[in-house]
């Protein structure tokens, strides 16, 4: 089983709008995939469908070897999903958040897992602070820690570094690189081209369709920079629409 995600013809319609239009996604294990595209292009919707948070209108395939439509419970226990919006409980402390998350995945050794998670994220000294009072960088660190606590085989990260300072972003990418080196797959959406350069592969989506796919070098070829390439693909996509 080479692919962590192998899904074809994935489609989502809301009323008469096609949000995601028959896309094929393949994500290899041990690699970081950058998921790029303009706002409203269907990145979040795609990620939500992959981990069973949204139903899909069409499409078939597998996520971690499970039918992504029928076995979302099994997929959920093996996927770490980090939402775009801050989505932990702000009126709980860091420790309580991690504890709660751990209990949703495990029956035993909760205390040990929480302790390790706090240490890995260097959050131990702040463990008893209310999550709502943390700064942006710390919040993101907590979110990632909560996401990794059950050692997922696949990470779906939805704009995880939006509003985070450069140092925290660098640490963040080091963490997920280590994680991918351990054999898990990562699909991460971002708007930053410097982050896109760190990815093993890039999937470029615009207005519900995949416009380009490949390594950074492949996407760049023929353009002066990644940015130029993206702008070209957005214009192309708009032209197709009209």
């Amino acid at each position: 089983m080479k692919y962590a995600i192998d899904v074809r013809n994935l489609t989502k319609k809301i009323k008469n709008n096609v949000i995601v239009d028959h896309i094929n996604i393949r994500v290899q294990r041990g690699k970081i995939y950058g998921f790029l595209g303009p706002n409203g292009s269907g990145k979040t919707t795609t990620m939500r469908m992959l981990c069973g948070l949204l139903s899909s209108d069409e499409g078939e395939g597998h996520c971690l070897g499970f039918d992504f439509k029928k076995e979302s419970d099994k997929i959920k226990s093996r996927v770490g999903y980090m939402t775009q919006k801050v989505s932990f409980w702000e009126d709980l402390t860091i420790r309580e958040n991690l504890e709660f998350t751990a209990k949703m995945f495990y029956e035993d050794d909760i205390e040990k897992r929480v302790r390790e998670s706090l240490e890995n994220a260097a959050l131990t000294p702040h463990a008893d602070r209310l999550a709502g009072t943390l700064s942006g960088g710390w919040k993101q660190r907590l979110a990632l820690a909560a996401c990794l606590i059950h050692e997922p085989e696949l990470l779906l990260l939805d704009e995880p570094t939006a509003g985070v300072d450069p140092k925290a972003r660098k640490e963040f990418w080091e963490t997920i690189r280590r994680f991918a080196d351990g054999g898990s797959a990562v699909l991460v959406s971002t708007h930053y081209t410097d982050e896109a350069e760190r990815c093993d592969k890039i999937i470029y989506i615009a207005y519900g369709s995949i416009m380009a796919e490949g390594t950074v070098a492949e996407i760049k070829s023929g353009f002066s920079s990644l940015e130029d390439s993206f702008v070209y693909h957005i214009n192309e996509s708009l032209r197709n629409k009209s």
């Binding site: 939500r48 981990c51 069973g52 948070l53 949204l54 139903s55 419970d73 099994k74 959920k76 226990s77 996927v79 999903y81 939402t83 919006k85 801050v86 989505s87 932990f88 409980w89 702000e90 009126d91 709980l92 309580e96 504890e99 709660f100 998350t101 209990k103 949703m104 995945f105 029956e107 209310l130 909560a146």
Partner: protein
């Protein structure tokens, strides 16, 4: 389906921590009951009409018949039937099906003719004292005017030196001293539990959706029923705390008797609380944000307040209102609590109300499970 109690417990713990840190909600849960208790307990009054009445007539004379016609024509009483025995009347009162039983003794007409000043007996369900108090006046008037019509011409001599040829005797059952509080407080228990119960659960889920934590929760391997149980159980406990506050206040401030013991009210309370919490969760599955869930809570709460028999005597409401009232869990809870606290009713007498409440609980829970979305669609 195997439920994970560890997960339910984890959610439960999370809810309690959040509740503890959410001062506003905690205050709402504790202080609103107290405030309203004082407000309603001291301030509510009402003016009822068309109260259900049955007549037990042992006399077929002209005076008795005219008195019954007078009752039927009055606005205050609504005669729903005639009965044959005292026991029948007592049973109807005990079940809360009628407000009054009017008994006309045999030889009423004969005694009247002999200037023996006979009496009509009205047995009143005085659990709601306002209605009972009005009955004395109203029935006296009706009897006097019936006699004024009948005692003309030849029988007019009966009125000479005898301004009241016949009397009305009122026998107030269940709340002889006529304390309004006796009636208000048990009902208020229901009102308060309903308001806070629905609102708190509705808010607790819509808040998760509004803050985005629902997305997080849904991405975890936890079953809807586990989430719902984890959310409901803390509020069941809180419901009992609220009930305890109200009952304690009832004891100390209003001296309300507890004639029927504690066990039955506690059971009714459990069913009623679950009804409300299920309703609250149902609201939260439909409402898009916290504001909407408050509005929808009010939408459920107001009919319950008006049509359950809390504000106005149930028997005195128009039939369309009674039909709606019969679909409201509070109606049944109110009857049970009033019946048990004030009348000392037993389970057999209240079994219909218990059944109705239980049925409502099952339906509400079923709807909620059906409505609960496992996805963000």
């Amino acid at each position: 389906m195997i439920l994970s109690f560890a997960k339910i417990r984890a959610i439960l713990k999370k809810e309690l921590i959040q509740l503890k840190r959410d001062r506003a909600t905690a205050a709402m849960v504790i202080f609103i009951p107290l405030l309203q208790l004082l407000l309603f307990g001291y301030a509510i009054n009402n003016d009822p009409k068309h109260l259900t009445t049955v007549v037990l007539s042992r006399d077929n004379g002209i005076f008795a018949r005219n008195f019954i016609v007078g009752l039927k024509n009055s606005e205050y009483f609504r005669v729903t039937g005639e009965i044959k025995s005292d026991e029948e009347g007592r049973k109807l009162l005990q079940q809360g099906n009628v407000q009054f039983v009017v008994t006309i003794p045999d030889s009423f007409s004969r005694n009247l003719m002999r200037r023996r000043n006979p009496s009509v007996l009205i047995e009143a369900d005085a659990a709601d004292p306002v209605t009972a108090a009005g009955a004395v006046g109203a029935a006296g008037e009706i009897l006097a005017s019936a006699l004024a019509r009948d005692l003309k011409g030849a029988p007019a001599f009966l009125r000479i030196d005898n301004p009241n040829p016949a009397n009305v005797i009122i026998h107030k059952l269940y709340n002889p001293e006529g304390f309004t509080n006796y009636n208000i407080i048990p009902g208020l228990t229901g009102v308060l539990l309903m308001l806070t119960g629905i609102m708190v659960t509705a808010l607790s889920l819509t808040r998760e959706r509004e803050r985005g934590t629902m997305e997080n929760m849904l991405s975890m391997p936890v079953k809807p029923i586990e989430v719902m149980l984890g959310k409901i159980i803390p509020y069941i406990l809180i419901g009992y705390v609220q009930a305890a506050i109200i009952v304690a206040a009832a004891e100390f401030l209003f001296d309300i008797p507890m004639s029927g013991g504690w066990f039955l009210p506690a059971v009714a309370l459990l069913i009623f609380i679950i009804c409300n919490l299920a309703l609250g969760l149902a609201v939260s599955t439909i409402a898009k944000n916290q504001m909407q869930s408050i509005q929808m809570t009010m939408f459920i709460f107001l009919p319950s307040l008006m049509l359950s028999g809390f504000m106005f005597p149930f028997c005195g409401m128009p039939s369309w209102a009674q039909t709606i009232g019969n679909c409201i869990p509070m109606t049944y809870f109110m009857r049970i609590v009033r019946g048990i606290m004030l009348k000392g009713s037993n389970f057999a007498e209240m079994s219909q109300n218990f059944l109705a409440l239980l049925l409502f609980m099952c339906v509400a829970t079923g709807i909620t499970i059906k409505l609960y979305r496992k996805t963000l669609d």
